[in-house]
């Protein structure tokens, strides 16, 4: 998020209020700080701590949306100590459910959902092969294609929806940051496996 702060902010200043990069960077810095001091013993605890940091620090719509996503993913993992490929796909699916419920968006609305829904489908397909890194790599690749697909779209949700057809031609900042999160997770997992 720190590396991509300017890029996300540039995307957001084209069709939004130009704060997405700064907001996401601030939220994830806060998440790191919270995790350093947290008593997080399970993967669900980690996700919950991240959720709370994002909800309180990101601001805008992205805070509640990503915060809800991490919270639902945390609930989906329950008290599991190890996350299987199937668990990872289920957690991503729960995150998508939370975002859709909170933002009331569907595929084609030029939002996070345009990246996350194809990512969840790809994650589910990849889960059978048993590798968590593989689940996140498939999800990230699908999210990248999904984020790119938002360039053509007219926004139906969020601030860009007030712009109507003028938002077309720009890639959605939220769909882009979703791809970045999944890609970061995939790269970390690939490095550790």
């Amino acid at each position: 998020m720190e590396e991509n702060r300017r890029y996300l902010t540039k995307l957001d200043s084209e069709i939004g209020d130009g704060d997405h990069g700064n907001n996401m960077n601030r939220g994830f810095q806060a998440a790191l700080e919270r995790l350093e001091g947290a008593d997080a013993s399970t993967p669900a605890d980690v996700l919950k701590a991240v959720s709370m940091a994002l909800i309180s620090k990101v601001g805008g719509a992205a805070g509640p949306l990503y915060g809800t996503a991490f919270l639902r993913a945390s609930s989906a993992l329950g008290d599991k100590e190890e996350v299987s490929a199937e668990d990872a796909a289920e957690a991503l699916e729960a995150a998508l459910g939370g975002i859709k419920q909170r933002g009331k968006a569907e595929v084609g609305d030029k939002t996070i959902v345009d990246a996350l829904e194809p990512a969840v489908e790809a994650a589910r397909d990849a889960a059978g092969e048993g590798s968590v890194a593989g689940v996140f790599r498939s999800a990230a690749d699908a999210a990248e294609a999904g984020a790119e697909s938002t360039v053509e779209l007219t926004a139906k949700r969020g601030r860009a929806s007030y712009l109507g057809a003028r938002a077309a031609g720009h890639q959605d900042p939220g769909a882009t940051s979703t791809y970045m999160l999944l890609d970061a997770a995939a790269r970390v997992l690939e490095g550790s496996s």
């Binding site: 209020d17 909800i55 309180s56 620090k57 601001g59 805008g60 719509a61 805070g63 509640p64 949306l65 915060g67 809800t68 919270l71 909170r102 933002g103 969020g158 601030r159």
Partner: protein, 131 residues
């Protein structure tokens, strides 16, 4: 008694709306939450939560202005413990007019449902009379 929480992207809008409602509904508990945690435009779930929890009212109505105010309020509601959550209603009404109607109604000792009804009517009440 019904209490009111006003969530706006702007501190001035939240505070000003609270002042306006209080002028007509003096004894109603109103908490204004404007702007984000840094004092710029936005909404701040932590302060929304603190405002809801800080009211002594038996029932709390929350009014929101634009997009993320609604998302933030919904997220706070989801995180509240069930016994607290059931006392809180997010009201789908125009921010200023709805809060005003609900506040005045609350000051008469009306219950939450009556205040919500008054606030919702503010959406369809015409401001200019035809002919």
């Amino acid at each position: 008694m019904v209490g009111i929480v006003l969530v706006s992207h702007s501190k001035e809008i939240a505070d000003g709306t609270a002042d306006l409602v209080l002028q007509m509904a003096g004894e109603v508990e109103i908490s204004a939450v404007g702007g984000d945690a840094d004092g710029t435009f936005g909404t701040d779930p932590e302060r929304i939560e603190a405002s809801i929890s800080g009211l002594e009212a038996d029932e709390v109505l929350v009014f929101m202005d634009l997009g993320s105010a609604v998302l933030s309020a919904e997220t706070v509601l989801e995180m509240l413990p069930a016994e607290k959550r059931e006392k809180v209603t997010l009201v789908d009404a125009p921010f200023v007019e709805g809060a005003f109607a609900a506040g005045v109604t609350a000051s008469t000792g009306a219950d939450a449902d009556e205040c919500i009804e008054a606030a919702m009517e503010a959406r369809t009440e015409p401001k200019l009379q035809e002919g």
